[in-house]
């Protein structure tokens, strides 16, 4: 018997359309999974069970009368609890958030519903999406499904675990410095941050508006593409979806490959070897000035987050978790002239990425320099050098938030301890479709991964 909860969306969609399985059965199976694992992993902040069952019955009636709405018809999708779902409070995993129910769906959620998706629940996260582990949450931390002593990565921690464990078929997250790609890499999933602005942030609690992106977490590139195309603001441009022809990847070694955990490096190099054996050309390249990217990103995100949370810090600072409050307060000390320098820097770095992309289909680099970290860790050693965990987690992802380039994380094997590793691809601005084509081809070439399942 097929366990539908572990199937990709595209396979489930075929079964729903052909009436091999009913939407009600899918929803009931998903709710059973949630009942079995949510309490131990702390994934959901709200499970919309009654509404989901009601919508499932309606979805089945539509199919019975010949009104199939497409590949998201009846598919259970989870939503990061930073994004509005009508009738449910958006908690942002914080006691400092507005406790009233959202009046309407965020634009991205509304588009998913119009396509037939069923919102199964809202997912735990790092408070206000301002963190990389998911630990600072008024609901408590989400735990890694393969090792409960570890973080699943964040800030879209619950979203990632919901998909990795079959508690949802896909999820919508947000990414301000890597918050979709980091948990995707740590949990063995695909996570897409599209080009800046391609998916509306309307109805999404802002963190740093010039860095915030909305995007999908999914089990495969095809599912990520389906969710992305459904949520995006404009229809796909056939010219931009042409298959990659060059099969050339640029690997930016300086800065990006300098500080990696040994097993992450081994896994990444193994993936490159596999790609080369299937005809891909890997060229060494460089992103000029990349070593300045942490300083640029830090000044941008701190300033903008402090501005976004000015009212909260003034009126209810003690409602935030200690870690998030301190980082928000830190942003109030950034000088305006340094924000201007950082803004200039993001333009320079954007051009450097464009130049590195000139002679290849995409840039290829790891997503996370380390495997999923132990909970309650603040520093990690890479090459005997202690570094702040937060800086390490953001090192390979945050630059592309500052420049707006599309980026996707794919699973690329496991450590000897069985923890997933992630490979990241960076595409040209406004060419997310092309990046997805490249990612799909690469996924086939390196795909030998087992699916993570809950303990």
């Amino acid at each position: 018997m097929i366990n539908w909860c572990e199937q990709p969306i595209y396979r489930l969609a075929q079964a729903i359309e052909k009436k091999v399985v009913s939407v009600r059965e899918v929803i009931d199976s998903t709710l059973c999974r949630i009942a079995a694992h949510d309490r131990s992993l702390n994934v959901y902040t709200a499970v919309l069970a009654d509404r989901a069952r009601y919508e499932a019955d309606k979805a089945d009636q539509l199919i019975a009368t010949g009104h199939y709405r497409g590949p998201l018809h009846g598919v259970p999708i989870s939503i990061k609890d930073l994004i509005d779902v009508a009738g449910v409070p958006t908690t942002s995993a914080s006691r400092a958030s507005n406790p009233t129910a959202a009046e309407r769906d965020a634009t991205a959620v509304a588009r998913l519903r119009t396509a037939g998706a069923i919102i199964i629940g809202k997912c735990n996260l790092h408070e206000f999406a301002f963190g990389t582990t998911g630990e600072d949450s008024c609901f408590g931390p989400t735990l890694h499904p393969l090792d409960k002593t570890r973080s699943p990565g964040g800030s879209s921690s619950g979203s990632a675990v919901s998909v990795a464990t079959g508690m949802a078929f896909g999820s919508v997250g947000t990414d301000t410095g890597g918050s979709i790609r980091i948990p995707a890499a740590a949990c063995g999933l695909v996570g897409l941050k599209p080009t800046f602005g391609e998916i509306s942030c309307d109805g999404v609690t802002p963190l740093a508006p010039s860095l915030d992106h909305v995007g999908p977490l999914a089990r495969c590139v095809e599912d990520a593409r389906l969710l992305y195309e459904t949520m995006r603001n404009t229809p796909p441009d056939p010219e931009k979806t042409a298959l990659p022809t060059r099969r050339i990847l640029g690997c930016p070694k300086p800065f990006f490959l300098e500080q990696l955990d040994r097993e992450i490096r081994t896994s990444f190099e193994h993936s490159l070897t596999r790609l080369q054996s299937t005809g891909w050309i890997i060229r060494d390249t460089a992103v000029d000035h990349a070593l300045y990217s942490p300083a640029v990103c830090l000044h941008l995100v701190l300033s903008e987050a402090a501005a976004t949370h000015m009212r909260g810090l003034t009126t209810r600072a003690d409602h935030y978790t200690d870690g998030v409050r301190l980082r928000l307060e830190l942003g109030r000390y950034v000088m305006g002239e340094d924000y201007a320098r950082a803004h200039h820097g993001r333009l320079v770095l954007g051009e450097a990425i464009d130049a590195a992309l000139d002679s290849c289909d995409a840039l290829v680099l790891p997503t996370l320099p380390i495997p999923a970290p132990q909970l309650a860790t603040t520093t990690v050693n890479i090459g005997n050098q202690p570094e702040l965990l937060r800086s390490v987690m953001l090192r390979l992802t945050q630059l592309f938030n500052a420049t707006g380039h599309p980026a996707i994380s794919l699973p690329c094997g496991l450590t000897t301890g069985g923890l997933p590793c992630g490979l990241q691809l960076i595409g040209r601005l406004n060419r997310t479709d092309h990046l997805l084509n490249v990612a799909e081809a690469i996924e086939v070439a390196i795909n030998d991964r087992p699916r993570p399942t809950a303990q």
Partner: protein, 74 residues
Amino acid sequence: MTRSPDEWLTAAQADADRRGLTQLKPLLRVLASATETLRKAPWNYDAQSSQITGHSIKGSRSQDDKLPPANKEP
């Protein structure tokens, strides 16, 4: 008011103490270090130089487009 990162750090740490946010002090040191790095970046503009020392960026202002066309008219 303009400050070197060291002067800024001293003032910011004193302010954090005054506000009872002593836990902020290690984070302020991290930020000061990042600010120092940012200020050393080769792309920063320097109005004291007769040359454009900043990295040229498409869409950003260059010597040729500092003024809107109307202001270039005699």
